[in-house]
Symmetry: C2
Subunit: 454 residues, 2 copies
């Protein structure tokens, strides 16, 4: 066996700072706009929604931001996450490439999400906030924030899209085990929820409605704020600990990756691994960075770069991003975390600047590689993660053709133990492939006509 | 923070041998008996059921048995498992005790079971076997063996107790993802299954029936053997890697435990952690070893030490063990892995010899500590594991009373992400406590009257 299968990082070597890519971007990020005035929003505009310490992080241009000691202490419950080498998967592909993967599935909720959930819970607590609200689809984010709120003694109310609430109760049970209240959305708790329920009493709900409810609850309650699990700058910032750890771990075996890949829905796990490498790339290092998304929701590969709302109900500021339109209804897809209509503004800008290559993959191909992974490496990947695996496999097979000893680093963003119905559907031949048709892209572009251009 | 939260063991320091406690037992284990003749069974008697290389391990008196290189290579997919310190849980209890836990939940199926599944799959493959059969209740063992068979290219058929097959499909999906065939038991595939189905077409099934079907399938098929996930000597042997790793990890921080605890259903995870410590104890070291079981199935604390069958259908040899009787019907209990009627013969003998202290815990107390654990350490424990946590908490609170800086080591045998319905039942007040009444013990003792005495 050449080299170790797992590379651990000593706790004392865990990164003490997050990396803020805004300090290094060739094109500075365009500001979010107030949809009413068309003018850049100010920190004060966001104050009813987020605590000021997180708003300061959102707009910070500092390259390195200290991780507070209480956050470090909680991250130590599972971090530094191990870096694994996927030797058995390499062997199955017959590739000369070496595939390393950062196993973010080792966190208590099983994904990368708690990296920012813990930080956000801490900052809210430090700001005197007593309760948080958020939305969740299948429950990955809701369970991560429930875990984090429990650690810091914050109350949490999660608005969970009703169809998931009814059909996938297990992540709701996780949230409740960590002490959070989880209600189906639309709910009778908010004006937004009530007005939908009056019109459509049997609606399955949507992420857009759930966001509107969570924000309304936060801004109308005392000592309460809203928390978001992806897209925003401070969320991506908190995830950079993944890439910073990976750099230290690979340095222990004198290795630097040729290719860095991650899956991208809102963009946070992808950014977390890749931003420290994109920093190197900006400074002249040769490294290829690939973001993988589903062909059914091709935000990065097909959608225009526009100013758009973050939510369906148009309650957020306008963000400069690749977007399929805030009223985009994603097709059925087991990778629930990759169904968001937009892409993080930071990731979007870096795509425009040519620093990230986006690629899309079909669902059936992703499951094929996920099952191969499970049968070789053992760990069953989340459906989202399978997109990164498909991209890594594509790179590894290319290396085989070219006879190159390429080093591939992938972000294994979470395990699939809560998503086994997707595997069952795949294995029993019930899954179909679907790529978003061109006319849907055209429709999205037309719908975004009236909004400001970045 | 005093000391690290996690202690990793370098891959090159992973144990290369399993520890066989038979070489050190003060009272040699009594032999299994042929129920027909009442005479000790010979290896040949077992040959239709298990491959001869595993039978040799079952009866071996060698202290150290080499772990074959291909087994080591597969164990490296997740081993050495990390040793964690439960600082936040200690703090919540306000104890001066230090609690270390061996996190066996990091394996791909999420429990300690693959430690023996991988070894058994390897030995069967090496013996020329092409297909295995086994039974499973909630699916922990079936999924671990499915994983292991996939790694070595063996076919597997799992007879899953029908009520679990119908109500808990997720571990079935895991097994299928790893390529195993999983059928509800009783099935029309076997004589045993057909005869039950004729009499009771709507039976929910039982572990006893599933074992009978799996054995019948194995002994009547070509190049096929049966595999068992606990109880037998070779299974416990394979699990000793847990304790051997823990000893090396604790030595890295110059620590030796005062108390070693594990939960025990069939006995394998408990034995895996504790046997290397019991060896030290036999040689004069002071260490207290505690085995935790449910009050609802008090095999070790209440049942007699007898010769009994391993299965309900009385197809196995007679084993010398603590047993509630092979026809014992366990009460409803969320810790599915702790519902077995007997206890591993090796563990039973060591209890008789005073080297292990068995204790029983009530379900509600176990869930109380499991929820506290989830809210402090983050990881949600399997319902089985919660019994070990309850025992560790009891020890830690005693240390608090006594003002002692005790070191407690517990086997965190698996995570509870596939068992969240139990948490939901607990949190919504639907769980009741239940201790097996004395008359049931008396009934078991009476039912065992006709069998030979150890």
């Amino acid at each position: 066996m050449d080299g170790p299968t797992k590379i651990f990082l000593d706790e004392k070597d865990m990164p003490r700072q997050w990396y803020n890519i805004q300090a290094d971007m060739p094109t500075p990020m365009k500001p979010p706009l107030n949809p009413g005035t068309g003018q850049p929003i100010s920190p004060d505009d966001l104050a009813p929604v987020f605590p000021m310490n997180l708003i300061e992080q959102e707009v910070s241009q500092e390259r390195w931001i200290d991780i507070p000691e209480p956050v470090l202490e909680k991250l130590l419950l599972w971090r530094p996450s191990p870096l694994y080498r996927a030797k058995a998967f390499e062997e199955a592909l017959g590739t000369p490439a070496k595939i390393y993967y950062k196993n973010e599935g080792v966190s208590p909720p099983g994904s990368h999400k708690p990296n920012t959930a813990v930080a956000q819970a801490y900052y809210n607590k430090a700001f005197g906030i007593e309760r948080l609200t958020t939305e969740t689809g299948a429950g990955q984010w809701g369970s991560a924030l429930a875990f984090a709120c429990k650690l810091f003694g914050l109350k949490l109310k999660v608005y969970m899209v009703r169809i998931s609430f009814d059909q996938k109760p297990f992540r709701k049970f996780m949230m409740e085990t960590w002490g959070a209240e989880c209600v189906p959305s639309p709910s009778p708790n908010t004006n937004a929820g009530r007005s939908i329920l009056e019109k459509l009493p049997d609606t399955p709900g949507s992420l857009g409605i759930a966001i509107s409810e969570a924000i309304e609850d936060a801004v109308t309650s005392k000592n309460c704020r809203y928390s978001l699990g992806s897209v925003l700058n401070h969320v991506l910032l908190h995830q950079t600990i993944i890439g910073l750890e990976a750099q230290k771990q690979l340095a222990l075996i004198d290795t630097y990756p040729d290719v860095v890949v991650g899956c991208a829905g809102g963009g946070s796990n992808f950014a977390g691994l890749s931003f420290p490498y994109i920093r190197d790339k900006i400074h002249g290092k040769e490294v290829h960075v690939v973001a993988a998304e589903p062909a059914a929701c091709p935000t990065m590969t097909k959608a225009p770069f526009v100013y758009d709302f973050g939510d369906t109900a148009m309650t957020t500021p306008l963000l400069p991003m690749h977007s399929l339109g805030h009223d985009f209804v994603p097709p059925p897809l087991h990778a629930g975390g990759l169904r968001y209509h937009g892409m993080a503004p930071l990731v979007s800008q870096l795509i425009i600047d040519g620093l990230i290559e986006p690629r899309s993959y079909h669902q059936l191909e992703c499951y094929k590689y996920a099952v191969l992974w499970a049968g070789t490496e053992g760990f069953i990947p989340a459906p989202e993660t399978s997109h990164a695996i498909a991209a890594a496999a594509e790179e590894a097979l290319r290396a085989k053709e070219e006879g190159k000893e390429k080093v591939i680093l992938l972000n294994w963003s979470g395990h699939g133990l809560m998503d086994l119905t997707g595997y069952d559907a795949y294995l029993s031949g019930k899954l179909s492939d679907y790529a978003l048709p061109e006319e849907e892209i055209a429709r999205a572009e037309a719908a975004l006509e009236g909004l400001p251009k970045p």
